[in-house]
Symmetry: C2
Subunit: 560 residues, 2 copies
């Protein structure tokens, strides 16, 4: 496979440009190697997908079934004038494709054909998302092959994006199609905060679907925070009981299992975050003994947003409690990763907390944080988890962290260089490019000016032109695992989840799958088509331009 | 009524402040005179609304029925900790309200009890939206009285906002309630652009419902523009046939009649706008002879956004065509107002158009515009319409305009003073405070920076703190008819209509009903409740804060 990838680029670049200015396929993210031809091909109404894998895992069979259903349910008219009626003549005389066959490459035995959900949770070095897709122009069976069921799933997703519908006929342009694909970066995420405002399970599942359609492979679930604690943790059920917004606004262990399973079947790992020691005010409702400066006023003295409250990190009782809590949570989530957070620790909170001052017994907060973190990370390590932290844990404190700790760089993407210089791996989550919530004004009350710290709105263009390796040395480049867009939900809820996230969140998905350097003009027609396809599939992706522009690729470019 | 208004303020101010910090009623807009008491009152499950009006108009009866249904369908838990469970004791021992009686004040005969829809379309001086609502604390019948069915409708809307639900019981706090209400300004609007992207009739109707719930009385319908022409105009059907995005993306005369009727029954007048002579590119699809610089490139030379194209204002044939078109449209809309637009006229378009240069025959564009405008406005006047124009028609050109012409001030609210100094009436529609679309980045293609001319996002706080009379003399103040928030839809569609508009658009509704000067801290708890109530009624209003804040009035204020 490696040699093929090395051989293909020249052909690919040629064919890539040959399809502009009118893209023949609305593929997102752009495959890394794509060859197209001149022919139209239509799908047989009795089109079948054959999973040619011995003892195929149930989630692969289900994925094939879903893909098959979408082919006929999408009913996406091509985004050109006439919505594809101009293709009718070519469609009517086109060859008919009746079959897609899936097969695993190499020496596959039944024991190696692991479920997608298992492949999706392998450590990064072992996870293989590559696939090869060949759609001949003569109507003979299309073939999708990969080294893993996860690769087959990615290929199915791409196959599902090849098709348009006109007058009831499903067809593609540019056959034959040959795709050799694999991601530029192993981590491509989407973060959702379910603590500021709660989201029902169905919203999360719809989001997972949308993520899977653009090859995003990780849901970073910021599940709890100072405002609410919706996670029902076995052995710690009193926290959600007293800290969820309501008895209905919770995620039970069964909900979690369903979400993890739903995600896994779509090639998505669920990276859970229990933010510590800050962002934990709500734990005081059930365990006041563990929280310093709980709801202390003025909140702005003790926290970046209300309510204030941090775990008493210098207390051995609180440390034990936290280790127990994190361990219990870790057992609900099979991911190899676990985030312990670590952002925005407020020094004044500990300074003014008499118990913490007593517990410190002359140690600094940093020293106590080191002990605390070694305890939590040590427990997670024992459970097989690799710790993930916000960047402050690496850049603001001198802590004893395991070398494999992963940093979420959020304050500024430029901090990636400092993290890398300390040898830690980086996930790009920069507020400067990837915060979906920015640009909606300030939300704190009694503040008529109403601005906010992370203005302006982070456009898809901003995310799309992001360079993951900026300011890094060649040697540091492999430390960048990938990146994600993030939705903090102070001003969001189920009402605007889709509209604030889609299609914007697809921008980073392409950067981290296809590699950076794409240009926004070339990308826009494909992004329109993704948006329209998402809508056909029930995700309320917004319009990026007037439909007049969407139907006329490049006509609304700045210099057109 | 006038004397009552003069007598009430002192009592009102006292009671207004007495209910803080925990508002007993989530009324939006705030009634101009409100007195509340200490008692809880619950609604009988067999609660009835009696319309004590001889030969009541059907739309009033229907409004009473809808109000009655909402009382029991809202199921809004009070936005405090426990969502009203703390009220249960008071509720269980509360008196029961079984009746609301509506009656018209004065010497009402069957001929004066006009439908709401008729009252809603009267000229401003004759339109009476005032009402008086008394809800006794002893369970005796509540009484809603007004001089008009339109006033009764406003009162019904307010009555519907008095109620919460806890454990299946519908109740209010703060009885007795006495409200004497009427608007500070006669025009309170919401503008929707259905040309950049199309909205189905159902979206417009849902928007009309939401508007009516905050006493907004005008839908300013920017129905067509350069990108698409969805309005099917009798005698001019070819324009929509060739200029709508699709055969389905149109408003037929029957759709218009339905929308006008739906609006009228909710106390809303529909102010239609056919923007001229600019913003008309799409007319070239059916009538190329009438459009200068149609889709000329580069678009940025000939228009503020693609595609370019303006009516050939110097041509008598085009003038006649426009007069015919506007007259045909005017007959579809019973409003006393009609907007002929007039914004963003591009000089270069006419300069480079050979036919226009020939048609001008030595006249200036301004002179031709004067003739053109006198023709269109003259025709509209004959049909009983008062012309509405964008501010450039008054400030940028020296035109012969009727004294009663109304200006939409959009470029900057500070331009209101210049408009008023010329003696024209003003509707505030300033991009600096009221443009709902601003702050989402630029949408033109091939523009990686992605900023836009009207950054940043216009927060609800910005709209709420707007002063309609800033920089105006006392003598000029009566020229201000009111104002509106506006949704231009380059980056919007049905997917984000609710989330971009609500509850933000309620901010101007309160400014122009209750009067300016409200403070954002006091308003926020009520605005939260409005947002939650809108959701219960099917409008996807967004969260303005984490629910933690919404349940704790003032706890997330900047200095709390």
């Amino acid at each position: 496979m490696v040699s093929l990838i090395l051989l293909l680029p020249i052909l690919t670049i040629l064919s890539f440009f040959a399809v502009f200015p009118e893209p023949a396929h609305a593929l997102w993210p752009q495959p890394r190697n794509l060859q197209t031809g001149p022919s139209t091909l239509r799908l047989s109404p009795s089109f079948t997908i054959t999973v040619g894998v011995p003892n195929p895992p149930a989630d692969l069979l289900a994925a094939a079934q879903r893909t098959r259903a979408l082919l006929f349910n999408d009913k996406l008219g091509r985004l050109v004038l006439g919505r594809g009626t101009g293709d009718l003549k070519a469609v009517s005389s086109a060859r008919v494709l009746s079959h897609l066959t899936l097969k695993l490459d190499g020496n596959v035995t039944t024991t190696t054909a692991r479920p997608i959900s298992v492949e999706a949770k392998l450590p990064f070095g072992q996870r293989d998302e590559g696939y090869r897709l060949i759609v001949p122009e003569d109507g003979s069976a299309a073939v999708l092959s990969a080294n893993s069921t996860l690769g087959l799933f990615r290929g199915l997703t791409t196959f599902g994006q090849l098709w348009y519908t006109v007058s009831g006929t499903v067809y593609t342009l540019g056959a034959p199609v040959e795709i050799q694909d694999s991601p530029a970066y192993p981590y491509r995420g989407f973060m959702l905060d379910t603590a500021r405002n709660y989201f029902p399970v169905s919203d999360i599942e719809r989001t997972l679907d949308a993520m899977s359609w653009v090859h995003i492979n990780t849901l970073h679930w910021h599940i709890v925070d100072s405002q609410s604690f919706p996670l029902v943790v076995p052995g710690f059920t009193d926290i959600a009981q007293k800290g969820a917004y309501s008895a209905d606004a919770v995620y039970t262990p069964q909900d979690v299992a369903n979400i993890v399973s739903y995600a896994g079947a779509r090639g998505i790992d669920v990276l859970i975050e229990i933010d510590t020691p800050g962002h934990t005010s709500v734990i005081s409702k059930a365990h006041p003994e563990h929280i310093a400066c709980a709801e202390a006023k003025p909140w702005s003295t003790y926290a970046n947003e209300p309510p204030a409250g941090q775990l008493r990190l210098a207390s051995s009782a609180t440390t034990n409690f936290t280790v127990g809590l994190l361990s219990a949570v870790a057992k609900l989530f099979p991911s190899p990763l676990f985030s312990t957070g670590g952002d925005e620790i407020n020094a004044r909170c500990y300074h003014d907390d008499a118990q913490t001052q007593n517990d410190l017994a002359g140690r600094s907060v940093e020293q106590a944080l080191d002990v605390f973190t070694q305890a939590t990370h040590g427990a997670l390590k024992k459970l097989g988890k690799t710790p993930v932290v916000w960047e402050e844990m690496i850049l603001n404190f001198n802590l004893t962290l395991s070398n494999d700790t992963i940093a979420l760089v959020w304050i500024s993407s430029s901090d990636a260089a400092a993290v890398a210089s300390k040898g830690f791996r980086v996930i790009h989550a920069g507020s400067n490019s990837f915060y979906l919530d920015c640009g909606a004004g300030g939300w704190v009350g009694d503040f008529p000016a109403g601005n906010s710290w992370c203005e302006p709105y982070k456009t898809w263009q901003n995310a799309y032109t992001f360079d993951p390796l900026a300011n890094l040395t060649t040697a540091q480049a492999p430390l960048v695992l990938g990146g994600q867009q993030l939705l903090w939900t102070e001003q969001s809820g189920p009402q605007n989840l889709d509209s604030i996230a889609w299609p914007r969140a697809a921008a980073s998905a392409e950067v981290f799958w296809s590699g950076s350097g794409g240009n926004v003009s070339a990308a826009l027609p494909r992004l329109h088509e993704l948006g329209y396809r998402l809508r056909q599939r029930g995700v309320h992706a917004i319009s990026l331009q007037p439909e007049w522009c969407a139907l006329r690729p490049f006509a609304c470019d700045l210099t057109a």
